[in-house]
């Protein structure tokens, strides 16, 4: 019975999103960028490491977007730089959500002193700017693509945990949760049977928030040079910024791709949150 209802409401949420022009524009933007990143490496005209001309040469016949700071083809590097960015962004969001779920639920249903201590730690840690926390992690482990994902995930764990905690606390005060407690369900059963289904809508919205934030953080940190040497859009901007006056394409193209992608993700997330809220009101 409840699954039928859930399917009905998720279908109506999707219908609502399809009728929202801003949300549709966001979905299209995401599809274009993701397709570019996935198909890119296969259709790139050169090898991403090949030198095709002098550094920062302007666009010409063979190299439509000119060359970068090392003399590589900007189009080729661009087409190869999206996969890592997307994968790291998704990884960072997944890690933040997983860790946030663990801490958040623990802070809602564990014994009183533990609960209080966790809540106090969360309130303290969210004061530190997220990027600063990520830098601390990168400094400790050294810059590499894996560290980047861990740094972004840990940087966002506490804000996520706070949101999850608030939602889990609401469930913990519901009658059905108290009933589960009374009939002696163990903590694992309570988490999987009562808490998780109860906070599912919050988790869904939070996933959207974390994806946007995680892509922003990945882009910023790899722009700062902490991506660990992989070809990546943020890194391209970092490397080519000095040649902005002579060969703007090497910087502007990745900037525009990142901007379009982040705006699209934000549009989808916003549309989904609106549709979900409307569906819940019914």
């Amino acid at each position: 019975m409840s699954t039928v209802h859930a399917e009905h409401s998720s279908a109506s949420t999707l219908r609502r999103m399809a009728r929202d022009p801003r949300c549709v524009a966001g979905v299209l933007g995401c599809i274009v960028i993701v397709a570019l990143a996935l198909i890119g490496p296969a259709v790139a005209p050169f090898d991403p490491a090949a030198f095709v001309g002098p550094a920062f040469s302007p666009p010409s016949g063979g190299v439509p977007l000119g060359t970068d700071h090392l003399g590589r083809d900007v189009l080729t590097v661009t087409l190869n730089g999206g996969t890592a960015f997307l994968a790291q962004g998704i990884g960072g969001a997944a890690l933040a959500l997983a860790a946030g779920l663990i801490f958040g639920i623990a802070a809602a249903i564990s014994a009183r002193p533990v609960r209080g201590a966790l809540a106090f730690a969360m309130d303290s840690m969210v004061i530190v700017p997220q990027i600063l926390l990520s830098l601390v992690v990168i400094a400790a482990f050294g810059a590499s693509p894996t560290t980047l994902v861990i740094a972004v995930g840990l940087g966002q764990t506490m804000p996520t945990a706070r949101v999850i905690r608030a939602a889990a606390l609401r469930v913990a005060h519901e009658d059905y949760y108290l009933a589960a407690l009374a009939i002696g369900e163990n903590p694992v059963q309570r988490v999987f049977r009562e808490i998780l289904p109860g906070i599912a809508p919050t988790v869904l919205v939070e996933l959207g928030v974390r994806l946007t934030a995680s892509f922003v953080a990945i882009a910023s940190l790899s722009f700062l040079g902490f991506g660990g040497g992989s070809i990546e859009w943020g890194r391209m901007i970092h490397d080519n910024q000095g040649g902005l006056a002579i060969q703007p394409w090497a910087t502007i193209v990745p900037v525009v791709l990142i901007a379009v992608f982040l705006l699209s993700v934000h549009l989808v997330r916003d549309g989904a949150a609106r549709a979900l809220a409307e569906a819940m009101r019914r």
Partner: protein, 327 residues
Amino acid sequence: MGARFGQAALWCARRLAIMVGMLLVVATIVFLITQALPGDLPRQILGQAATDAQIARLSEQMGLDRPLIVQYFEWLGGMLRGDLGVSLASGTPVATLMGPRIAATAFMVTVAAAITLPAAFALGIAAARRPGGALDHAISGTVFVIMSMPEFVIAIALVAILATNVFHVLPATAALDPRIPIWDQANLIVLPLIAMVITALPHLTESVKATVREELSSEHVRWARLSGIPERTVLTRYALANVVPPSLQICVQTVGYLIGGTIAIETVFSFPGIGSGLANSVMTRDITSIQSIAVLIAAVLIALYAVADAVGLVFTPRARRPVGGNR
């Protein structure tokens, strides 16, 4: 009178204890991440080619040969005395290394906050007074776009538009001359300041707008209007008085955004501040500098939140009334 003073003193003592507790949590977690987790920090810093003697010397220099708990309390004690430690990368005290950078960034954040906070209130209030108006829509749209972007994208766009490709009216970098006071090199800091204000403005504007709108549609504002009190007085005396306390917290959050944002923005403009200094320290794995700066920034923000709480209390008569009295 005496009871009220006692209440205030009690509140201050409680707040101070919470502040110290929060700072301890931050310091402990930062210390644990940087010191306890990696197995072999000296080898990571010196590289695989380093000899065992070099590793041992660095371990001793970093104090890594002593028990973790001893290291922790020595570091914490140093921080409490205002000793930020010695930079691992250069061997100079962190305070000497970062002092001028801290001053430069503090100057920038103060100026940016002095522009952002009034501007956000002015825009937010104006938009809230005419819901659905042109300004409301323009603000919502701009806020949406800017909030999706990382700081460095906005900074690079500003450089492309105002300093290189489209117009060339401002310098593209802000590499200050340390011998000249910062305000005498004003043309260099205009672009970084614009970038800071643009990136910090949306969040505060949006929340001021939402709070003022809610307040303007509240019962007591409706009654004030029905009683024939002029709209201007309704806005300033009745609506805005209740907007201040919740907004103060978000003002401090905005200062936090400004500080976090300096890391990318200062790097774009090669501005010699604490943000680009931190990025450099991460490059050179200068753990002591990063630990100290992170805790310092946390301390500043925690103190600002406490000030915001205290000021908010002054603006909220209900909250400072003695408990149980005046029923």
